[in-house]
Structure formats: structure tokens, C-alpha cells
């Protein structure tokens, strides 16, 4: 237990302490802890009007993309879970498909679709005969559009359960009470969903505030900064200038405070949402809203939304990856297709090294996270005695609120100062990723472990087994599916994660995400899209792994996980 506590302190508390230390003592000419503490950095960061401008942009960006993403997700969740719209299974797969595209790749695809000179959509519009539209992607509106569309599938996954949990008799009672279908949706269904939707809105607002992918890639070209990219650029100034770690730390602490506040709000709303869910104890047959003649129009609308959400970005990615120089899609362009992009991505001498790095980083992060989370779950669920259990749990769940950029930056400074020798290696990336995903993993393993009836442990103890033996012979086998799912979840996110990787990589420890960043900065679109297609294909395989396993080996046990 103390060992675990120490591990957590090292992973979580040390980086945050480092931030505070740096904010108090560092500036452009001083490294952290090399001079007496002062509040100068906070003054330079928090009182700078530019910071408040960036803050305003951040809020607009987050609010806008959150609204767009949730609106799309809510429409799909309602249609798929609560109506008899045709083709629900396919719609379900289609809305989730964009999850396989890493955020940075999604953003790349959209730059090709909407850039103001030769973006596919802009050209298509002018070809039909409209004047050249003036909205380019390189604007705050463009960033909101891309982030919102990218968010839709994640938001769907989070809120679909709330739609499915609505007791249909609540709506039916409203119909009997004299309201029409639309009135019932407005007065009963939506208010019932409000806590769940609000909780999701807060959560994704936080995600948008801290995200780096879209603001980093589109914002870089558009010269639009949000808080997360501001922190990155403060640590990576233009050549000739020295990074001001004090200001960067103060900004990072600001972002961390915002994130912690949002996380608190989210917990409150999520608690309220659970209170509403299914007061009835009895099972009910899920009854769907009969759309009648609106079935096909609704399907049409959903398909129309899927075009920008999934179809266009995927198509663009593949199309661009097969062309050395961009041309508008046509049959004439087909004979210009080339494997050049793929050859140069896979054929380069460094690329094998990069792929091996990625596998090593993501794999070790997954193993370490699951191991640590399992230990925390075991101790905190079982430890009824003492105060250590709850503290351990709280400490483990904290990193959920630490934005990736902040964590990456803090870890970077920490190992810059500490002479352990992992700075600049892939292990520092793996370490930061482990910290980042510890919270989510611990939360889900704690939940899984709570579902194991206490009698199962007690029976084992009465049979004379100690704690370790009980865990090995009883708990671990029952939780094996949960372990596998969590490991997969970490693996997928570790491959996608950009902000942590670019804060911590060096040329020797390049991974897929940082390679994407480098190709983007170098403007090598063909290679970038080819790498994007490969990464997406890999994620599709990983994402469909659980379904495949279920196909091959039907579930043996109904319990756990």
C-alpha cells in the first residue's frame, strides 16, 4: 500500500510540484530552482492582455465545437436508440467510424477539403457555378467545425446509454396526457436527458479546452492560439529566443485550474444524471418512437450528416495519400495515382525505428497502466480499514483532469532537472502516458472490481487463501476481460496522443504522432496522408479486436467486466 502511494506521488504529485516550482522560480534566463522564488511569472502570464485574448479564443473554440459535436451526437443517439429509423446497425458503425482517425489526421484531411486555394469542397462549389466561397478552414470557425465533427463520435459513445436508459412509459404517459410526439420530446425526453447531456457537455468542453491536435495543426497555419497551443509555443519559441519556463508553468497551472474546476462540475452533473436513470425496477421492453412517413427523411438527414463527419475526411485521406501532388478527384486523375507516399513512409531507414518506438511506448504504457490500476483497484476496494484507500483512489483519479499539454510539459521539466537519464528517451513518453491514462483505467477497474460479489473473496479467505492468492486465483481470472479492455483502451489512446509526445520527444525517440507533426510542419502532405491511412487502419484493427474476440470465443461468464 505504501509502495503504491509512493508510486502515485512520483507519477502525479511530482510533475505538479515541478510546475509550481518552475512558475515561482524560472524565467527566460533561469532554469527552475536556480533563483529565489517570486510571483513574477504569474504576473507576466496571468496579467498579460494577450493571455486573456487567448483565453477568450479557447472558450469560443471549446463552446462552439462542443455544441456542434453534441448536437450531432444527440441526434444520432436519439435516432439509433429511440426510433425505428432504418439501418440502425449500420448508422451505429458509421457514426463511430471516425474514432479510428487520430485527431491530427482528421484535421489534416479537413485542410485538404476546405483550404481556400484548392480545397475539394471549395473547388466543387465553384465548379457548380457559385462564386468562390470566402470561408477558409484557417479560421476559428474552421477549427470549431473540424473539432466539432471529430467530437461527434466520442460524444455519441458517451450519451447513447443515457438515451437508451429512458423508460419509454415516461414518454407514453405524456402522449396519454395530451401532448403530441414533438411536445413530449421537448417537455419530457429532453428534460430527462438534461443532466446527462450537461455532464457530457462539460466533459467535452474540458476535452476541447485541453486538446492540442486541431488547434495545433490548423491553428499553426491560421496563426490562432488557444491556451493549450500557447503553452506549447511558450516552451518552443522561434529560433534565437529562449523558452520562458516560468510563464509556461504559470499558464499550465491556469489551464490545470480550469480543468479541475470543470471536472468537479462534471462529477456533480454526472451524479445527478445517474439519479434519473431508470427508477423502475422492472424490466421493460425498449419501445421505439414510430416515425411513420418521417423514417426515410430522417435517414436521409443522418446520411447527409455522415458525409462531412466520416465519408469526406476518409475519402480525402486515401485520395491524397495516393497522389504526389494534389489534383481534384476525377477519372482522368486516376492514372496519376502512386504508392510514392507509402513507399517513402515505410521505406525510409528511420521509419522502422519510429514504428518500433510507437509499439514499445504504447505497449509498455498499456502494461504499466493496467498493472498499476489493478493494484490500486484491488487495494482501494478491499481496504476497508484506514484512510489510505480513499486517498489512493483520489490520487489515482486526479490525472484525468490534467491536460495532456500540461502533463507533458511538467514531466519534461521534471526529468530535465532530475538526473535519472530518461530525458530524451522513449521511456519518458511511456511514463507520461502511464500517468495520463492511469485515472481512466483505475476508474474502470475499480468499477469492475466492485461488481465482484464480496462473498467470492470471503469464500476464498475462509478456504485459507491470503490476499495475493485470492487475487491471483479469484479476482484476476474474473477481471481478465476488463484488464484486456482497459489495456486496449490505453493502447489506442497512446498511439493517438499527440500533445504529450511532442512535448517529450527527441529525434531518437520519434513516434507516429510526432512524425505526423514533423511531416505537417514540413508540408509533406503525401507522406502525411499515407502515414494517416496506415495509422487509421491500425486503429481500426485494434478497435474491432474485442468484437472479433467475441466472435471467435463467445463469452464464458456473465459476470465481471
Amino acid at each position: 500500500m505504501w509502495l503504491l502511494g509512493a508510486l502515485l506521488a512520483w507519477l502525479v504529485a511530482a510533475p505538479i510540484g515541478m510546475l509550481v516550482l518552475a512558475a515561482l522560480t524560472a524565467d527566460a534566463t533561469h532554469m527552475p530552482a536556480s533563483r529565489a522564488p517570486g510571483l513574477g511569472a504569474f504576473a507576466r502570464a496571468w496579467l498579460d492582455p494577450a493571455t486573456w485574448g487567448v483565453m477568450g479564443t479557447s472558450l469560443q473554440f471549446a463552446a462552439g465545437s462542443c455544441a456542434l459535436g453534441l448536437a450531432i451526437a444527440a441526434l444520432f443517439a436519439w435516432a439509433i436508440e429511440r426510433t425505428d429509423v432504418p439501418g440502425r446497425r449500420l448508422l451505429f458503425i458509421a457514426i463511430l467510424a471516425p474514432m479510428a482517425i487520430p485527431g491530427m489526421i482528421y484535421a489534416t484531411a479537413w485542410t485538404q477539403l476546405l483550404n481556400s486555394s484548392n480545397g475539394l469542397l471549395n473547388v466543387a462549389v465553384t465548379r457548380i457555378g457559385f462564386p468562390q466561397p470566402r470561408i477558409g478552414l484557417l479560421s476559428l470557425g474552421g477549427m470549431i467545425l473540424v473539432q466539432g465533427l471529430a467530437l461527434a463520435s466520442h460524444a455519441y459513445l458517451l450519451i447513447a446509454a443515457a438515451f437508451a436508459a429512458i423508460d419509454p412509459s415516461w414518454e407514453e404517459q405524456s402522449r396519454i396526457a395530451g401532448r403530441g410526439a414533438a411536445g413530449s420530446l421537448w417537455r419530457i425526453t429532453l428534460p430527462l436527458l438534461r443532466p446527462a447531456l450537461l455532464a457530457a457537455a462539460i466533459y467535452f468542453f474540458l476535452v476541447c479546452i485541453e486538446t492540442f491536435d486541431v488547434p495545433g495543426m490548423i491553428g499553426l497555419s491560421a496563426h490562432i492560439e488557444v491556451l493549450s497551443t500557447r503553452i506549447y509555443w511558450a516552451t518552443h519559441p522561434e529560433s534565437g529566443q529562449l523558452p520562458d519556463y516560468g510563464v509556461a508553468s504559470a499558464l499550465a497551472l491556469l489551464l490545470l485550474l480550469i480543468a479541475l474546476g470543470l471536472m468537479r462540475l462534471h462529477r456533480g452533473e454526472a451524479g445527478r444524471a445517474r439519479r434519473f436513470v431508470t427508477i423502475t425496477a422492472r424490466g421493460y421492453r425498449p419501445r421505439r418512437v414510430r416515425l411513420g412517413r418521417w423514417r426515410w427523411p430522417l435517414l436521409g438527414l443522418l446520411c447527409a450528416i455522415l458525409v462531412p463527419v466520416a465519408v469526406l475526411p476518409l475519402f480525402m485521406l486515401v485520395w491524397r495519400s495516393l497522389l504526389r501532388f494534389y489534383v481534384f478527384p476525377s477519372t482522368a486523375a486516376l492514372n496519376r495515382l502512386t504508392w510514392f507516399g507509402y513507399r517513402s513512409v515505410l521505406g525510409e531507414p528511420g521509419s522502422l525505428h519510429m514504428l518500433a518506438n510507437t509499439a514499445l511506448v504504447a505497449g509498455s504504457a498499456a502494461v504499466a497502466t493496467v498493472g498499476l490500476a489493478a493494484a490500486i483497484a484491488f487495494v482501494s476496494v478491499r481496504a476497508r480499514s484506514g484512510v489510505a484507500g480513499p486517498w489512493l483512489r483520489r490520487g489515482a483519479l486526479l490525472p484525468q483532469a490534467i491536460p495532456s499539454v500540461v502533463l507533458g510539459f511538467a514531466v519534461m521539466m521534471l526529468y530535465l532537472m532530475l538526473p535519472i537519464g530518461i530525458y530524451g528517451t522513449i521511456w519518458i513518453i511511456a511514463l507520461a502516458l502511464t500517468t495520463k491514462y492511469l485515472a481512466g483505467s483505475a476508474a474502470s477497474l475499480i468499477a469492475a472490481q466492485m461488481q465482484i460479489a464480496p462473498e467470492l473473496w470471503e469464500a476464498s479467505a475462509l478456504s485459507g487463501a491470503g490476499a495475493w492468492r485470492t487475487w491471483r486465483l479469484i479476482v484476476a481470472p474474473l477481471l481478465a476481460p476488463a484488464f484486456a479492455n482497459v489495456a486496449l483502451w490505453v493502447l489506442i489512446h497512446a498511439i493517438r496522443e499527440l500533445a504529450i509526445a511532442i512535448m517529450l520527444y527527441s529525434p531518437a525517440s520519434s513516434v507516429v504522432a510526432t512524425q505526423v507533426w514533423a511531416l505537417w510542419e514540413g508540408g509533406q502532405m503525401t507522406e502525411l496522408c499515407a502515414l494517416g491511412v496506415l495509422a487509421t487502419a491500425l486503429l481500426v484493427c485494434l478497435l474491432s479486436l474485442p468484437a472479433l474476440v467475441r466472435l471467435v470465443r463467445p463469452a464464458r461468464r456473465g459476470s465481471a467486466a
Partner: protein, 357 residues
């Protein structure tokens, strides 16, 4: 009040309701009774407009609300009825008063009238003290009352109830049953009441519609259905029943004399000699220690006695046949003791086995 004809409902390839004919007079309680899966809830939901039948007609009062042939299907919000769901469906995001006011809001009633009528409805169900309470903090019994107040506040002519008491404990159930009947009398409502509990049906209904496998088996007043069922299923489903296989040995005047394991019985019916009917009577129809001179007195051995508080459950056994009867607890027969009883011929019912080809 409700007239249903030729109603058929299918879910996929499964037929849930087959050619239902039903007629409920106004100002009465009609109970749809049947085991689970008999289609009674589906029938109720068809009346409410929550399910669309595949064939047939439903008329509420003078209004044709559903007709497959004429393509009429009034949505539930325009059928002007009240409904109490099994799960109560009390909206958890509204107060008690908010729940009850909802139907009036959808009728766009003036504010003062809504306040007055909500108060009146809550008083009627005894919840006026809880008007401002959030609906999710209520007990099951209180939620049930909210659901009831909400169903009657709009003064519908027809109230639909889908197993409204099944989630309450036994004591509360008995009390609510009496309150429901009183409320109905006070408001002059027609009630269509779904239940699988035969006791509830007997206690509440003016008329029972007994269903099985999507068909109406028998319709009638509770006492008549209980004592003079026309179908064996009705006899079986409505309460403790004694069945005895027997053989007609002679026809004496209006009565058939039937030989069974327990001796000879008479039944008011005409049957050919040698017929093999099944004799049915309820425990309370058995007359113990009949006066001498009663035709056909039987005698049997007590095999089990179970003490039930206000009565005894006694089993008589003869070979592999058994009869059940209820005795006053003052009388304590011992197992092994012999009891004499008779069944009046006009109370014994005959079921003929299905014709075997």
C-alpha cells in the same frame, strides 16, 4: 363505452391478439385478466393508442379511434383518456404538482383553474401535503398516487390501468383496491383494468374478460365466472378448484348421476350413460355433515391440514384423487379422520373432455 371488434395485433410473425371482441359499458370497471403473455397489456395499449393493431376497430364512446379498414388511427394524445402505468412513469425531473398539472397544461387551461384542479386531484388521492415534493423522492405507494392523480386530473371518461397495484406490498394493495373503487364511483369513470391477479379482478370488476394466448376465453360478471364458469381454464384460473374425473351411470330426472373416486355425485345436466365427464365445484360449495336424507352423501379421509389463520386448508384424499376445502379454524380435523360432505346438484359443473377423433 369501449367497443372492440375483430382486433388483431402481430409483432413480426407472432400473433399477440387474435380477433378480439369486447364491449365495456360506461360507468363500470372492466378487468382484463390472464396469465402473463396472454396479450392483455397489449390490448390495453391498443386502446390507449400506444400500439397500432393490424386489423379490427376500436370505438371509445361515439368516436371511432381506430379502424384498420378505414385507416383511422387517432394518436394517444387525442384519445382523451387517463392511464396509470405499472411502473407509474412518474417523471423524476418534475415536482408532484408538476406531474399532475401536466395534462392540464397540454390542454392550455388557465393558470387559476390548473392550480385548483391539481389541488383537488391531489386531495382525492390523499397527497395534498406533498404537492411541492420532487417526484424522485417518493415511495412506491406515493408514486402510485401521483400517477393516479395525474390520470384523473383531466377528467377523462375512460381510465386505463396496467397492473397498477402489482408493485405494492400486500397490505397497501388491499387498501388501494378499495380506494380505487371508491374514486371510480365518485367520478363516474369507466375503468379498463389489466391484472394477472384473479383476486384483484374478482374484487374490483363489474365484468371480467379472461384472456389466454391472445384470445378472449370467457367474459362475465365475477360471481358468475367464479361459480359457473363455462370453460375449464376459467374454473382453474379464478381460484381454488376441485376437479374430479367420473363416469355417468344413470340419468335421474334433471340430474346426471356420476361415479367418482369419492363416491357418487349429482349434477344438473343431461348426459348419456357411459359419458366420461369431469366434475367441477369450488371448496365453499361443499356442504359438510349434510342432514341425513340428502341424496348422494360422500365420505373421505383427511390427509393434510394447513393452518392459515382465519381458516384451515384441508386436503381430502382417495386413491390418487384429492379434494381441497376450507374449514373454520374452530373445527380441527385430524389427519386420518373421516369427513362427510355433499355437493348440491345445481352447483356441480360438468366439463366434457375435448372430442378425441
Amino acid at each position: 363505452m369501449i367497443t372492440i371488434s375483430g382486433l388483431t395485433k402481430r409483432f413480426g410473425s407472432e400473433t399477440i391478439l387474435r380477433d378480439i371482441e369486447m364491449n365495456a359499458p360506461a360507468d363500470s370497471i372492466l378487468t382484463l385478466l390472464g396469465p402473463s403473455g396472454s396479450g392483455k397489456s397489449t390490448l390495453l395499449r391498443c386502446v390507449a393508442g400506444l400500439e397500432t393493431p393490424d386489423a379490427g376497430e376500436i370505438r371509445l364512446g361515439d368516436e371511432l379511434v381506430f379502424s384498420a379498414r378505414r385507416r383511422i388511427d387517432l394518436p394517444p394524445d387525442r384519445r382523451k383518456l387517463g392511464m396509470v402505468f405499472q411502473s407509474y412513469a412518474v417523471w423524476p425531473h418534475m415536482s408532484v404538482a408538476g406531474n399532475v398539472a401536466y395534462p392540464l397544461h397540454s390542454q392550455h387551461r388557465p393558470h387559476a383553474e390548473i392550480t385548483r384542479r391539481v389541488g383537488a386531484a391531489l386531495r382525492q388521492v390523499g397527497l395534498d401535503a406533498l404537492a411541492g415534493r420532487g417526484a424522485s423522492d417518493l415511495s412506491g405507494g406515493q408514486q402510485q398516487r401521483v400517477a393516479l392523480a395525474r390520470a384523473i386530473v383531466g377528467e377523462p371518461a375512460l381510465l386505463l390501468l396496467d397492473e397498477p397495484l402489482s408493485n405494492l406490498d400486500a397490505r397497501l394493495r388491499a387498501q388501494m383496491r378499495i380506494e380505487l373503487a371508491g374514486l371510480r364511483r365518485a367520478l363516474g369513470l369507466t375503468m379498463l383494468y389489466v391484472t394477472h391477479d384473479q383476486e384483484e379482478a374478482l374484487a374490483l370488476a363489474h365484468q371480467i374478460v379472461l384472456m389466454r394466448d391472445g384470445r378472449v376465453i370467457e367474459t362475465g360478471a365475477p360471481a358468475q365466472m367464479y361459480e359457473r364458469p363455462r370453460h375449464r381454464f376459467t374454473a382453474e384460473f379464478l381460484g381454488l378448484a376441485n376437479f374430479l374425473p367420473g363416469r355417468v351411470v344413470e340419468q335421474r330426472e334433471a340430474n346426471a348421476v356420476i361415479d367418482t373416486a369419492f363416491g357418487r355425485f349429482r349434477a344438473r345436466t343431461a348426459l348419456g350413460e357411459g359419458t366420461l365427464p369431469e366434475l367441477f365445484f369450488r371448496p365453499h360449495q361443499m356442504i359438510l355433515d349434510p342432514p341425513d336424507g340428502t341424496a348422494q352423501i360422500c365420505e373421505a379421509v383427511v390427509s393434510d391440514v394447513v393452518f392459515l389463520g382465519e381458516m384451515l386448508d384441508v386436503t381430502l384424499r382417495q386413491g390418487d384423487q384429492a379434494l381441497r376445502l376450507r374449514l373454520h379454524p374452530a373445527r380441527r380435523p385430524e389427519p386420518g379422520q373421516r369427513l362427510r360432505f355433499a355437493v348440491p346438484p345445481e352447483q356441480a359443473i360438468i366439463f366434457l373432455p375435448p372430442q378425441t377423433p
